[in-house]
């Protein structure tokens, strides 16, 4: 069985191992021990804080393989990006240039540097150990965050976004970076990516182009990857797209990976999730697979297990109750997977 719970300091070595596996292009999950430790500390502080409205909190969750208590995945939520330094994206806007006389009507896409996502909650860094990249584990880890948001809506903004990793080869070579960013940063993709994760992002404002970039003037290889998802991320992307996330023409400034967004209230998991009592099942459940969560803030737990919805609540197996540290009658939250 798998279990999702908030991160703890003891998880640091496991996180480091995961970050190294994840590699380049996941800027908000850098393989840097100090930064990871900061992230853990921030998550714990956030869970212990009484929050009235979203601020600079961040929440980090780990995926545990309960068979051996190993940490095999990790994901998070930033309550609001851009609170201290602006959060930059490229917005793809079409510029229309028309000459009636020559009967030409051109729609030219251009990249505008913007911080339209500043002030918005963000899903970050879904990383799962290769051996555990199965649909169940991936869905559990990804959607556990949405159950958390549904439970604590005051901690998040009404809009939610996620950045999907853009196209780059196994050496970290990004044709988009090569055609654009490189000229302004005078460093390679890996370094910029790393700096953007570990330093304040002020250098982006300092170095990025201030005028729009007309897409057709870029080399074709760069044009081709704008808004394209890295194949390693397609599975986690699909989970979010099925939830109701949409691409609205924003891409990452480094690798042009797409940013997807949604109104929190309209996400599938959030509209479908129910709250009620846990009921006991004496035998193996024949019900459908459910995401089930319990526990308050630091003790928040989510697992995936077969369960049977009943009028009085959700009937779950004994083992599931143990995983969630609940017994019959406790308040739980669930959604069919």
């Amino acid at each position: 069985m798998y279990l999702v719970r908030p991160v703890d300091f003891a998880d640091l070595p496991a996180l480091e191992r995961l970050a190294q596996q994840a590699g380049i292009g996941i800027t908000n999950f850098p393989a840097n021990r100090e930064r990871l430790n900061d992230k853990i500390a921030s998550s714990r502080r956030s869970l212990q804080t009484d929050v009235v409205q979203p601020g600079d909190e961040s929440y980090l969750f780990v995926l545990v393989d309960t068979s051996n208590e190993q940490i095999v995945g990790c994901c998070g939520i930033d309550a609001m990006v851009g609170a201290d330094a602006p959060f930059y994206s490229y917005r793809i806007d079409e510029v229309v240039h028309a000459s009636p006389q020559l009967q030409i009507h051109n729609r030219i896409p251009a990249l505008y540097l913007c911080h339209d996502y500043s002030g918005t909650s963000r899903l970050i860094a879904l990383v799962v150990d290769k051996a555990h990249q199965n649909p169940l584990a991936m869905s559990l880890l990804s959607k556990a965050r949405l159950l958390f948001i549904a439970r604590y809506p005051e901690r998040f903004t009404k809009r939610l976004f996620a950045e999907l990793r853009g196209e780059s080869d196994k050496h970290g070579y990004s044709s988009f970076w090569d055609a654009l960013g490189k000229h302004f940063f005078s460093m390679d993709f890996q370094k910029a990516d790393y700096l953007s994760a570990v330093s304040n992002k002020h250098f982006i404002a300092d170095l990025m182009p201030r005028y729009p970039i007309y897409v057709p003037t870029l080399p074709e290889a760069a044009q081709d990857v704008i808004g394209v998802i890295h194949e390693d991320s397609s599975q986690s992307a699909d989970i979010l797209l099925e939830e109701g996330f949409e691409f609205r023409g924003y891409v990452d400034i480094f690798d042009a990976g797409p940013t997807i967004e949604a109104r929190t209230e309209s996400l599938h998991t959030i509209t479908q999730q129910k709250t009620g009592k846990a009921l006991s099942l004496t035998e193996k459940s024949k019900g459908a697979m459910h995401l089930i969560s319990a526990g308050h803030l630091e003790h928040f737990r989510v697992t995936a297990a077969p369960a049977e919805p009943q009028v009085a609540g959700l009937a779950v197996e004994k083992e599931t109750q143990e995983q969630l540290a609940i017994s019959a009658g406790h308040r739980i939250q669930w959604v069919e997977l």
Binding site: I104, N106, I108
Partner: protein, 347 residues
């Protein structure tokens, strides 16, 4: 004798013949009788205006005539002020610096900024000399006669004057700048765009060209390399203007990236060094030897400019042969303007 004079109504056929020879890319002289007739009308009107106190839409088109045969073998022109009827576009090659002290990165990024900065400015243009006559300093006479006219009538021109130089393209007329920039926005060919512009139709530039600066560092190397450079055939013309004091001030053509060269009229060598003196008619010494001099009269409608050669530097009075005086349309004691043909002509 080779004489520069204003174009006149009888020159239509000769001008048409010249236009036919200019070839693709020479957009200020196209072989179209209606357009050429309009040009002549404009020039005749401009040269016959008496009391011009400031430049407006005059177009001073002159021809180089072989006075022995009456043949027209070249043209040159000055527009008193461009961009007053149709906007005149150029790119300004500017710099934007992006620096992060924190990271120790400092980039000076060149940018192309669309502008109409030459609006209202005088332009020297339409320089063409028949191939058979590209000798005996005819080219210099043709180009520099304009400076003599400007020196004599500065009130007819702006303080600053400029010239557009043909940019780089290959033997098939393919311009690297156009291919990587203009093409994306115009959806037409370079040639077509160039012709539309030549016909004074520039509306489409405003309509189709992006307003925002273009980052030069994002352009392919082939395009970057041609910015501010001239076509191989234009190298001598550029050198000639630079010797006269014209400078490239980072303005380039929006299509092919060819440079605009500019100068203050008063700083042009031929203007600054030229002086008025009174003509004597007689037997001057050392004719046909020594240094070349440009000599022009001081008339508008009957403007003339010729090249003379003297072994003894002319003083405050200039003795001309009867033939020279006739070519200049002057009689004795009339004022003429003289200057050394080139900055290094005192050999």
């Amino acid at each position: 004798m080779m004489v520069i004079r204003p174009i006149c109504q009888n020159d239509l056929k000769s001008l048409y013949r010249l236009a036919e020879k200019t070839g693709v890319g020479f957009t200020s002289l196209v072989a179209d009788e209606t357009i050429l007739q309009k040009k002549i009308d404009g020039a005749v009107r401009s040269f016959s205006k008496e009391n011009v106190t400031k430049p407006t839409n005059e177009d001073y088109l002159m021809v180089l005539e072989d006075s022995t045969t009456g043949e027209i073998v070249g043209t040159c022109g000055i527009l008193a002020a461009v961009g007053l009827d149709e906007p005149f576009y150029s790119y300004h090659l500017g710099t934007i610096t992006h620096a992060s002290r924190e990271l120790g990165v400092h980039n000076a990024v060149p940018t192309l900024i669309l502008n109409n900065d030459f609006t209202g400015c005088s332009e020297i243009c339409t320089l063409f000399l028949e191939e058979d006559f590209r000798h005996s300093k005819n080219g210099q006479l043709l180009s520099k006669a304009r400076f003599m006219f400007m020196a004599q009538f500065p009130e007819r021109f702006t303080e600053k004057v400029f010239a557009e130089m043909r940019g780089v393209s290959d033997e098939n007329g393919v311009s690297p700048l156009w291919e990587s920039l203009g093409r994306h926005f115009f959806s037409i060919d370079f040639k077509e765009a160039d012709e539309l512009t030549a016909q004074g139709n520039k509306q489409f530039i405003a309509e189709l060209m992006p307003n925002n600066p273009v980052y030069v560092n994002l352009l392919p190397k082939a395009a970057r390399d041609v910015l501010g450079n001239v076509h191989t055939n234009t190298v001598p013309a550029r050198r000639l203007l630079e010797q006269e004091g014209f400078r490239y001030e980072n303005y380039v053509d929006i299509f092919d990236g060819g440079p605009s060269l500019e100068a203050r009229v008063q700083d042009i060598r031929a203007v600054r060094d030229s002086r008025l003196c009174l003509a004597n008619i007689g037997q001057p010494k050392g004719v046909g030897e020594g240094s070349h001099y440009l000599v022009s009269n001081a008339k508008v409608t009957d403007f003339r400019c010729i090249l003379i050669q003297r072994s003894v530097p002319p003083g405050s009075a200039l003795t001309l042969t009867q033939e020279e005086a006739d070519a200049l349309c002057i009689t004795t004691k009339e004022p003429v303007r003289i200057v050394e043909l080139s900055p290094y002509s005192r050999h």
